[in-house]
Amino acid sequence: MSETPLIQIRNLSKSYGDKLVLKNLSLDIYPGQVIGYIGPNGAGKSTTVKILTGLIPDFEGEVIVDGINMAKDPLGIKKLFGYVPENAEIYDVLTPMEYLDFIGRLYGMDETTLHDRIKRLLTAFSLGTNADDRMDTFSKGMKQKVLLISGIIHNPKIIILDEPLSGLDANAVIMIKELILRLSKEGKTIFYCSHMMDVVEKVSDRILLINKGEIIADGTFESLKQNHSDTLERIFSKLTGREDQANEADAIINAFD
């Protein structure tokens, strides 16, 4: 782990109308880290991701990635990022080949490298035979794989995965988990957002828990375990103030009376 952080977030705030979604968030992320970013619905998770990826251009505070200031040169930052969005938005009347070709060219990639890489990636994701089929016939999992490829096609330094396993079958999930570990060994920094605690627990070497716009826990899974509870699921519910799930379940059962 090197001394200078790759991503520096300083006093990041964002509000929609009166509602403050992020409250003075400050964060340092170092190269090669796999960050598990978790939090309840509406905690500000996806807002953070959208700011990092440049989807939300107006915010307060400072975001510096690899020495580049977001406010000054968002394009320079976007080049470093690969992003796999949560809602599977894709031009699905295109074929994977056409779509990935399009994305690669937007990153300014050279055609021969690009096409070679697309073919190899598609084959590796076992979509080789579907390369020239339109994606509107694809299953959710197949589209998700294309999205994943589109997030790593330009070999980015930082990869942001927002719920990347949705729709994937067990084999693909195992493959992605393995992939994340391998990518991090290659020196990639990975920002992993998910609600699936068991996966986060396994792949991340640093876990960030956000609640109501503030980071309330930050550390390795081991350190979180010592201070709080034995599984990430329990830690999550303890810290986000919802320990009384048993009571809630009771209330649900009682509602039928």
Binding site: G54, I56, L75, Y83, D92, L94, R105
Partner: protein, 568 residues
């Protein structure tokens, strides 16, 4: 053919790349985005295949060839304006005025969905593309779309100008069409920017859709009413150009080019000045859009795309109280719980689904337009004569019968939705009798849309023609209801908002609908002849009411076999 046309356009557009590159646009990315966008346009599911797809992505309503044909015909009509005035200067001014208005309105109404493609938000924005490139790609995309439209719309006039002004005028006219097109794009951009800066994103979408509704009504009204209400030859004699303010109208600047080059004898310094403005302004406009307006534009657009879910909650609460009246009505009209559910889902979805409103709301304006069209179709009388005749005649029942048009429009759209997949609930839940939902749907359509409209017209009719019209209104209303149930029985095979949007009806359905139109027409004519005996009308109301009641009962009994289900 469409594909190769796009390639040609791309080649043409690439002429501007060096210039654009100087303003900071990445032309490689630009070319790539344009290529893919045009590909997407071409692959957007056409009406014919809409049965298969349609849940995601926008569905074009008409087949491309139909649109091309329609545009050319439209072009012929506008082209005729050129012959209106002996001086081509004035004729061309009129022509370009209509041309630009049509172009601007078409752009705003047709292209907004393409412009605000929310997927761009996630696909293009995270990539290293600068604002200017994205904005210019949008403008270029529109331009290509528009150029295609402009060339089709302008082609007939291009030929006509050749006959009017000689062969030399044709290439000049071509340049003039380009001027008009670029100016229209510039204006549309300004309108968008003004709207985006002054209203919230949510409102923006609503305003655009009301704009579209207004536009279709306008076209419809102009088509039916303008020839009736004004004498076209008068238009030819107005010497527009004798007013000083006329020189502020962009069409004049465009027309000036022809005047300057083809009729140099008539032109003066002012004309040449105007012609130069006409030539330079579109270029300056495009530059201004790319350089100054584009960055802000892009930012606002991204807000529109992201803020969809955030701003709704407050207005929802406010509305809740107002609707309690409709809730009470629904309990009264549809007491059965399943039927009531059908009523409520129809009411709520129809009030909140933008696509549905877009298709149905214009129909409300069509009814009075049709009425005026039919009633005022006599040629030689003065306006007050006609009005006098109208008051002493019995034409008013026509107004109510015309309202059945609303029923047809609503019922033929009610089962369709772009989000038809949500209708899985109907099939997953233990509903023994889908007829209940259908009858709830029908009752909702009648009480929320048809009845209010009829009431409004009834008030107008009774105040204009006197209380003896009441029985006619009631009978006409009941007959329309019978007609409505027939339509619902034979034409509406799906549960509310449960099928993908298809626009072509099968041949069998067209015949059925014609037969039913003939049926209501026959009853209407019969009604018209019976009107002199007031008592007969009053008596006829009783069997009509019984028929409606029995038919509704029957309609409610529809089983699952008669329901068409979409592939979910």
């Amino acid at each position: 053919m469409l594909l190769s046309m796009d390639k040609l356009f791309l080649r043409f557009v690439s002429v501007f790349y060096p210039l654009l590159a100087k303003t900071g646009v990445d032309t490689i990315q630009l070319n790539e985005i344009l290529r893919v966008k045009l590909l997407l346009d071409n692959r957007r599911p056409k009406a014919m295949f809409a049965t298969k797809r349609g849940a995601n992505g926008s569905v074009t309503n008409k087949s491309p060839w139909f649109i091309i044909f329609g545009t050319v015909v439209m072009g012929v009509f506008i082209g005729l304006v050129l012959f209106l005035n002996k001086m081509p200067y004035v004729g061309e001014t009129y022509y370009f005025l209509i041309f630009m208005v049509l172009m601007t309105l078409t752009l705003i109404s047709d292209f907004t969905t393409v412009l605000i493609d929310t997927r761009d938000q996630f696909i293009l924005l995270p990539r290293p593309i600068n604002d200017r490139t994205i904005a210019v790609s949008r403008i270029m995309h529109i331009s290509i779309y528009v150029l295609r439209l402009a060339l089709l719309q302008g082609a007939p006039a291009l030929v006509m100008v050749g006959f009017l002004d000689g062969i030399m005028a044709v290439p000049i006219f071509f340049i003039q069409i380009l001027e008009a097109t670029f100016l229209s794009i510039f204006f549309v951009n300004i309108i968008y920017l003004l709207l985006m800066n002054s209203v919230s994103p949510q409102r923006f979408k609503d305003i655009i859709s009301y704009f579209q509704i207004g536009f279709s009504v306008l076209i419809f009204a102009a088509y039916y009413l303008l020839p009736r209400l004004i004498n076209v030859s008068v238009l030819g004699n107005i010497s527009l150009l004798s007013h000083w303010w006329a020189y502020c109208l962009p069409p004049v600047w465009i027309a000036a080019l022809n005047e300057l080059l083809i009729h140099p004898g008539r032109s003066n310094t002012v004309t040449s000045l105007l012609a130069i403005i006409g030539l330079t302004l579109p270029v300056v406009g495009l530059w201004l859009v790319a350089k100054v307006l584009a960055p802000g534009f892009n930012r606002r657009l991204s807000v529109i795309a992201t803020s969809d879910g955030n701003s709704n909650t407050l207005t929802e609460i406010k509305k809740a109280k107002r609707f309690s009246l409709i809730e009470k009505i629904s309990n009264l009209v549809a007491p059965d719980p399943v039927e009531n559910a059908g009523f409520r889902i129809t009411w709520k979805l129809s009030a909140r689904t933008r696509e549905f409103k877009m298709k149905v709301y214009p129909a409300f304006a069509y009814v009075p337009i049709y009425f005026i069209y039919i009633v005022f179709s006599g040629k030689d009388e003065s306006f007050s004569d006609r009005l006098d005749k109208l008051q002493h005649g019995h034409n008013y029942i026509l107004l109510i019968y015309l309202c059945s048009f609303i029923l047809t429009t609503i019922l033929s759209n009610i089962s369709m939705s772009e989000k038809y997949k949500s209708s899985w609930v109907y099939y997953a839940l233990p509903i023994d009798n889908p007829g209940k939902i259908l009858s709830g749907m029908f009752k909702a359509v009648v009480t929320l849309y048809f009845l209010p409209l009829c009431l409004v017209f009834s008030v107008i009719i009774v105040s204009f023609w006197g209380p003896q019209a009441i029985n006619d209104v009631i009978l006409a209303f009941l007959v329309s209801l019978i007609y409505g149930i027939l339509i619902a029985l034979f034409m509406v095979k799906g549960l509310p908002f449960s099928k993908p949007v298809v626009n072509k009806q099968g041949g069998g359905k067209v015949i059925t609908s014609l037969l039913m139109m003939a049926f209501i027409g026959a009853i209407g004519v019969g009604h018209y002849f019976l009107m002199r005996w007031e008592m007969v009308i009053w008596i006829a109301i009783i069997p009509a009411f019984l028929i409606v009641w029995i038919m509704l009962k029957q309609y409610k009994k529809q089983s699952w076999e008669s329901i068409e289900m979409a592939d979910l």
